[in-house]
Symmetry: C2
């Protein structure tokens, strides 16, 4: 499947791109630090929910990789912020009834995090290259916060798809 460059505009339907790029910092701490403020809509604090901070350590996927299932969290957003300088893949589909014809893949470059908005269908982490650590901020608390679907027609992400993206960008 085609892989797209991850930009705020391209990802707006699905949530936030978490990055200093394009954000305007303010000076804090008596001028010793820049604060890039409020970069994601962390939407987890309903009456029964609270923010959870966790760390994920993901094994890289092997290409070609077959996308066979997707998931979503109906009760809260979920943010992934890479602690490693490795890229990863993001596969999403719009919220609402799942439509596998609307799957879209993005290439998250080093330094880019993502925050899936509540209810957005997404694949689980697809690290590339190396074992990669991520900070994860999602919702804890009562309620059923995971739905999964299997694709009728699995979709393949190939090394060639990645090379084509590199060609598109450069």
């Amino acid at each position: 499947m085609r892989i797209h460059k991850l930009t705020r505009a391209a990802f707006a339907t699905f949530g936030d791109v978490i990055s200093q790029e394009g954000a305007n910092p303010s000076l804090v701490n008596r001028g010793t630090a820049e604060r890039f403020h409020d970069l994601a809509n962390i939407d987890v604090a309903d009456a029964h929910g609270k923010p959870l901070l966790s760390l994920f350590r993901a094994r890289p996927c092997q290409l070609p990789f077959e996308v066979t299932s997707m998931q979503r969290h109906p009760l809260g957003s979920q943010a992934f912020i890479p602690l490693s300088r490795h890229p990863y893949l993001v596969v999403v589909s719009p919220p609402g009834g799942f439509d596998e014809s609307r799957l879209i893949a993005f290439f998250a470059a080093p330094g880019q995090g993502v925050n899936y908005a509540k209810g957005v269908w997404h694949h689980v982490l697809l690290a590339l290259d190396e074992v990669s650590d991520f900070i994860v901020i999602d919702r804890g608390g009562a309620g059923s916060n995971l739905e999964e679907v299997n694709l009728q027609r699995p979709v393949t992400i190939s090394a060639e798809d990645l090379r084509s993206l590199a060609f598109d960008i450069n």
Copy 2:
């Protein structure tokens, strides 16, 4: 001032140490990732508060450094998770009325984040060595969430203090 090694036990009065070390992961994402679950008490979601996710880019402090003031956030916790592999210093004092005789300094090693519990006195970021990026999770929303105090007797952190810590650890 003496600098202490940052451990969960030593920091328990002040909040959480955010680290994989000593945490028990569970396997998630069909066994492709380990989840180190709920590593900090993100305490920001009162009736008027919401979690804010921001990035800080901090200039390193120069040693010797004089600690002249401290601050606290009475309405919420504040977490700092380094995105860079550089150490930093954490200077805190217990919650409640400020007592400058109870200041304590910790050395946060690469990979260690901290979460200041609500109301814990702390110094602003003290990056070491290099310009360092941090993810920050704190509270947004109505209410006055910053108090600052100046020390009657400023305290100095010297390069020698850091060397002494290294000697203690090794």
